[in-house]
Subunit: 291 residues, 2 copies
């Protein structure tokens, strides 16, 4: 068991958006709610048992309601916006919110600067949440852009966490947006290459398909193959071990040719036990690997 | 019947406050919700059937929850705050919100400038809502202050409405705060004196007691008597007709000595019919009076 206090989670903020004058950070929120045991498991986002009364009236006021903000969830955005308008950083806001919800795991936004993931589509350049939620990932993906990334620095503690830890796990999230957005910060990618800790990643692609989300459309859109091999290719410059699903075990040799060790296991997390098993495999892989 | 479009309501904004980074205008809101048929009649504020889920989580985040912001109600504050942060005036925000809710009556904040009603008490100077809601009007009132009033101008349309109308009704609200706050804007008081229209007021004090709210505590606190006569005294420089409750008919002579005509009727509004009857008496009084 690794004590929760010793875990740092570095989170994508490229999906952040402002709606109704509120600063919303979808990935920080979903991770915070999940770790606090508050997440609506059925929906996969938001807070369980939430109501949508505020949004109903915002709709009456002519506002867009495609981003489903629950009433409880709104408290997070209201509090965050209020603190940020006083000049408090997103990192510090996140620390305070997590503290209030009793989280011991440290949550860090990848940056306190403004980076926005935008998708170039035939209808123009749109924000990632607009692409994903409003337009339900139906538009052809022509290009993925991380607006502001050239000027952005990792948040305080991010590079330090990577350099000083005993191991890094790259979770099975979207390799182009989500993980890709975090990696778009040069100093973070550099830290992953430089650290003495081992880096393990879990493939988000199983049998040529993403476990959830539109990774396939994004990968195809920018001319990549939708496969665990392709993901390993994207990560190979910092990756020590790649965990792929047992279903994909025939890809092992091909991936190992990239200089990355491969571990095969069940990576599809349906139950709490599935999650625990996969975490154990990842931690074991970290312990065995060494640079 | 006066067509709704021809009625302008000038509203106190001295009770406005910022909470959780949101701009809240309690008097505009209650009047807007009431006219839109949305108000929670039982509570006397907020929107009927509202929930308080957002506030619960704001409490979890360590925020004060004495000002009971419902989830539906929050939409008003979120939208208003968002528009105001873009530089839209409170007058224009109010126009848009009212339009969305189908209101035909014109609602005007008394000013687009910042005026704040503050109460000096033994524990210090506190905002009016803090005095009224948080501390439940329990503190001794030493002084009433309208912060910012010297620099404030009436909102566009307010003075014009008073000068160009066929009659003014000063509603039975708190004569020191609420009505007093509106009157603290010199140009509004001047317009009431200057207008060729008649001005009718309805006494908020019946048998030496306010119908609701802490008017008695405020009046006593600043050394005034709690009586309809005292209210007439406060309004006499612009008032043509004062409507008092039939219960107080023995005060008629005393008030008429101030140069104000008096009409006696039932002023306590328990039912919709009571409201309609009183409105009719007020309109009749306006029609009979002339300057």
């Amino acid at each position: 068991m690794i004590p929760e206090e010793e875990i740092t989670t570095i989170v994508n903020t490229g999906d952040d958006l402002e709606l109704h004058g509120l600063y919303i950070s979808p990935d920080l929120d979903i991770i915070m709610y999940t770790l606090a045991g508050l997440v609506d498991e059925e929906k996969g986002w938001g807070i369980q048992g939430d109501t949508f009364n505020c949004l109903k009236i915002l709709g009456k006021y002519g506002q867009e309601t495609w981003f489903r903000l629950g009433d409880k969830d709104l408290a997070t955005h209201i509090r965050r916006t209020s603190l940020m308008s006083e000049g408090v950083t997103l990192t510090e806001v996140t620390r305070r919110l997590c503290w209030s919800l009793g989280l011991k795991i440290k949550l860090l936004p990848m940056t306190d600067d403004r980076v926005r993931t935008a998708i170039r589509t035939p209808i123009g350049l749109i924000g990632f949440q607009e692409y994903l939620v409003k337009r339900m990932a139906q538009d052809e993906v022509l290009e993925i852009i991380f607006e502001g990334v050239e000027l952005a620095k990792p948040a305080k503690g991010v590079v330090e966490a990577i350099l000083d830890c005993t191991g890094v796990i790259v979770c099975p999230s979207n390799p182009l947006v989500s993980i890709g957005t975090i990696l778009s910060l040069k100093e973070i990618r550099d830290a992953l290459m430089k650290t003495n800790s081992s880096v393990v990643a879990i493939s988000p692609i199983v049998r040529g398909e993403p476990i959830k989300g539109p990774a396939d459309k994004l990968m195809r859109g920018v001319g990549l193959k939708v496969s665990a091999v392709q993901v390993a290719e994207l990560y190979k410059d910092f990756l020590d071990v790649f965990i792929i699903d047992s279903i994909d075990k025939e890809l092992k040799n091909e991936i190992e040719k990239l200089g990355v060790r491969v571990v095969c296991t069940n990576t599809i997390m349906r139950t709490q036990d599935d999650k625990i098993s996969l975490a154990k495999v990842a931690i074991e892989a970290l312990q065995k690997a060494s640079r």
